[in-house]
């Protein structure tokens, strides 16, 4: 199962998809694309603590994708 974790003010929201289920993949991808359009950043991560990689396109085979709001210098 793939997992999309979207950061928000009340903690992250989880969207799950089965890579073999087209509808679920499409729904997750739509959320992903909507957030990327709002300048969110997306990182594909692994559970074992290995460094994540930044992605710009939805990967249905990703185990976990974390989406963060944009960052700014202070």
């Amino acid at each position: 199962m793939g997992e999309l974790r979207i950061m928000g003010s009340k903690g992250d929201t989880k969207v799950i998809w089965d890579p073999d289920n087209e509808d679920e993949v499409e729904a997750a991808e739509e959320q992903f694309d909507n957030l990327m359009a709002k300048d969110f950043l997306a990182f594909k991560v692994k559970k074992d603590g290995e460094k994540g990689s930044k992605i710009k396109k939805f990967d249905p085979d990703a185990g976990k994708i974390i989406m963060t709001p944009p960052l700014a210098g202070g």
Binding site: K10, K51, K54, T68, L71, G74
Partner: protein
């Protein structure tokens, strides 16, 4: 040293942040929730981490209930953020993070100390530089989500990370760095 929490939203989002101080003062600025300035304070029935919360005197019960609800939401959100961090760094390192409030991040070129509050430190061979970079609306998100975001970007795209950050106060690297979670780990 005790920490005193003062109800101080001070933000347009009404996210109900707190200002903290190590001295017990008598006034607080409450701009959004109550529109009261520099008013005398009383101690709320509730507390954060064992420390009292000072709220404006005379605030009505309904407002206080709303205030307490917002406080709980904030604590719940932070707990969720820590669960996400647990997924990334594991239980042992999370314990250290809970104790120190700091995460050590290994970039390809440099290392970074990312604290829950305050400036990030970029650690080079013989130099330390303060970096100011954070979620655009950082007060609208749990503190630990801010830390996670910085960790992910520093690891995955260090060039972008450093190009966004404002840099301050470069200085010689101290002999000893403060304790942080993930200091020994290298992904």
């Amino acid at each position: 040293m005790a920490t005193y929490y003062y109800a101080d939203t001070g933000t347009s989002s009404g996210s109900n942040g707190f200002t903290t101080s190590e001295t017990a003062g008598t006034t607080c600025n409450c701009t959004i929730t109550w529109g009261i300035w520099n008013t005398d304070t009383v101690i709320s029935d509730n507390e954060i981490n064992g420390a009292p919360i000072y709220v404006p005197q005379g605030i009505d019960r309904q407002e206080q209930k709303r205030y307490e609800k917002l406080k709980k939401e904030k604590a719940d959100a932070e707990q969720k953020a820590k669960e996400l961090l647990l997924d990334l760094i594991g239980e042992k390192e999370l314990e250290i993070y809970n104790k120190t409030g700091r995460l050590f991040v290994h970039g390809k070129q440099y290392d970074y100390i990312v604290p829950k509050e305050g400036l990030i430190q970029r650690i080079e061979k013989d130099k330390v530089t303060d970096l100011c970079i954070h979620l655009r609306d950082r007060h609208g998100f749990p503190e630990t989500d801010n830390v996670i975001s910085l960790k992910l970007l520093a690891e995955a795209d260090e060039k972008q990370f450093n190009s966004i950050a404002n840099q301050h106060h470069p200085r010689s690297r101290p002999e000893e760095l403060p304790e942080c979670a993930c200091m020994g780990a290298r992904g």
